[in-house]
Amino acid sequence: MKKEFKVIAGLLPNNTRVLDVGCGDGSLMSFLREEKNIEVRGLELNQENVQQCISKGLPVIQGNAETELHQFPDQSFDYVVLSQTLQAFYNPEEVLKNLLRIGKAVIVSIPNFGYWKVRMKLLFFGVMPVTKTLPNTWYNTPNLHMCTIKDLFKFCDEKNINIKQVVGVNEDKTSLIKKSNLEIKNLFSKLGIFLIG
């Protein structure tokens, strides 16, 4: 399992109820169910992924998080997980609001546009960055609202969203991110994982 999922799993207590938004083929859900006895639910757009989840006995609803989060009742989950898709929504603010409505807490991960390699690409080569975490070119990227770890920090501050914990991930290394080390972590983390709500 990829490092990001290990971190997310580490943030989730056993025996809770978790909604995985954009659950893909269900690998995180499987892990949470088997290892932590978590009651999982998934929301996924891609038909093939939905089929794979169903074959694994994982409950999944085929649909688009942008338009279909309304069907989940208020505070019906202990945690809602959104892995690396916030930046792909037309209206990430609305999606985030919905996640916080559905879950008592929310885990959001973002590819960090503030990572030093990303900054270098733009600064020295003058082209839109293409990296391992951001593999698409400007004309075919699904990412509409790229942001940095610092941006999301600021966003939560402005919207009065409580930040409980932030973890930066760079390959196999993880580190806690606080306001005091934000500038440096924003430069050296490929991913930011936020526990909010």
């Binding site: 038909q47 939905v50 089929q51 794979q52 989840c53 169903i54 074959s55 694994k56 006995g57 994982l58 409950p59 999944v60 609803i61 085929q62 649909g63 069907q71 989940f72 009742p73 019906s76």
Partner: protein, 389 residues
């Protein structure tokens, strides 16, 4: 026939290769009348295992019957769901024990309007009580009792079969470990009621129908029933699917005949479907079954609506809809998912993208069949484990 059942709760009666039980337990119908000692025809495929944990109940649709797969001994045609049910199929009869019963009100062996009314020894006709989806489902629960099945591995059905399934889950919340409602709705829409009314009016406008009394004269309002079937067939296809299948193609002719014969292939198709249908179905049964569908509104039965209907569900659901189905739309199917979600039930949902309309659930739609198989097989593993614990 009821007198034979005197000593036993049920008895098996074999006529014309149709398996039946006689349900002795009185069934109070929604209309207020009570029926008892009535025949319920059914068919099974595969073997029930020793743990009795591999049973799957299939609910049939409006014009279906208990002959799900293999060869229907009455019509000598393939069973209506041979695409999904059989050895090695999505619902694998090498592995699972599949049960399907003819609905009451039907005409394939279960009590229906063509049967004899014991009060006057005449065929019931319109004296047959108006039945509901709930009545159909309650009758079938008696069959499970007869077969000694406490909990089904899965219950499934498309169209009216899906409606029966939703009712079954609401009325008997502990009877199914999992459920797959397909291309259905929790309440019949105005459009669906209108289409059913069209079918009924076609039958009633046929002078042979004679207020439903045609049965005693040994005739059938064929023209009206055929038109009713044609209406159905149009609603089972999609605009795009119909255009692709038929377009403006002519039926075995090079040019227009300038007559009212079936010039177009689509006309020929409808006529064929319509008149083939009258050979195997009773016109009054269409009236009764379409009525049951129209009266179906699950939320109306529960204060607090659909969410309340699904409260305390331990059943694991998979709802499936088809993108081009305009009879039971994706929206209607999603409403079921939303209610199940709101009631906290374990629910999965998949929309299959296809041009084949409502009929898709009966056709060889690989994505649909793969999803169905994946779900049922995974549920079997879970059910076995749960039973062991």
């Amino acid at each position: 026939m009821p007198s034979l059942a005197g000593l036993f709760f049920w008895m098996n009666v074999k006529t014309e290769d149709i398996n039946k039980i006689i349900v002795k337990k009185p069934l109070k119908l929604d209309c207020g009348k009570t029926i008892n000692n009535f025949p319920l025809a059914y068919e099974t495929y595969g073997k029930l295992n020793a743990n009795k944990d591999n049973a799957i109940l299939v609910f049939h649709a409006l014009t279906g019957d208990q002959f799900v797969t293999g060869t229907n001994p009455i019509t000598n045609k393939e069973g209506w769901w041979i695409t999904a049910v059989g050895p090695g199929k999505a619902i694998d009869t090498d592995k699972y024990f599949v049960i399907c019963a003819n609905v009451i009100g039907g005409c394939m062996g279960s009590l229906g309007p063509k049967d004899t009314n014991p009060e006057n020894n005449q065929p019931y006709g319109l004296d047959f009580p108006v039945i509901t989806i709930k009545d159909m489902v309650k009758a079938q629960e008696s069959l499970l009792e007869h077969l000694g099945i406490k909990k089904l591995l899965c219950a499934t059905g498309g169209s009216m079969g899906g409606m029966q399934l939703l009712q079954f889950c609401a009325t008997f919340p502990d009877k199914a470990f999992s459920a797959v409602p397909i291309a259905c709705s929790s309440s019949h829409s105005a459009q669906n009621i209108a289409l059913n009314e069209l079918a009924r009016q076609a039958i009633m406008a046929d002078p042979v129908w004679d207020n439903g009394k045609y049965v005693s004269k040994n005739v059938q309002p064929k023209n009206g029933l055929a038109v009713a079937r044609m209406v159905g067939h149009i609603s089972y296809l999609s605009e795009k699917g119909m255009q692709e299948k038929f377009g403006r193609k002519l039926q075995e002719k090079a040019d227009y005949e300038f007559s009212f014969n079936a010039d177009f292939q689509v006309e020929s198709y409808l006529r064929h479907q319509g008149y083939a249908f009258v050979e195997r179905f009773d016109a009054n049964s269409i009236l009764y079954i379409t009525r049951a569908m129209d009266y179906f509104d699950l939320s109306r039965q529960y204060k607090g609506g659909l969410v309340e209907a699904f409260k305390n569900q331990n059943t694991k659901f998979l709802v499936i809809s088809f993108s081009s189905d305009w009879l039971y739309t994706t929206k209607e199917n999603k409403d079921i998912v939303i209610a199940l979600n709101a009631s906290g039930a374990d629910v999965s949902y998949s929309e299959i993208i296809t041009d084949k309309g409502h009929d898709s659930f009966l056709l060889n739609e690989p994505e649909f069949l793969k999803t169905l198989k994946g779900f049922i097989d995974s549920m079997y593993e879970k059910f076995k484990n749960e039973k062991r614990i």
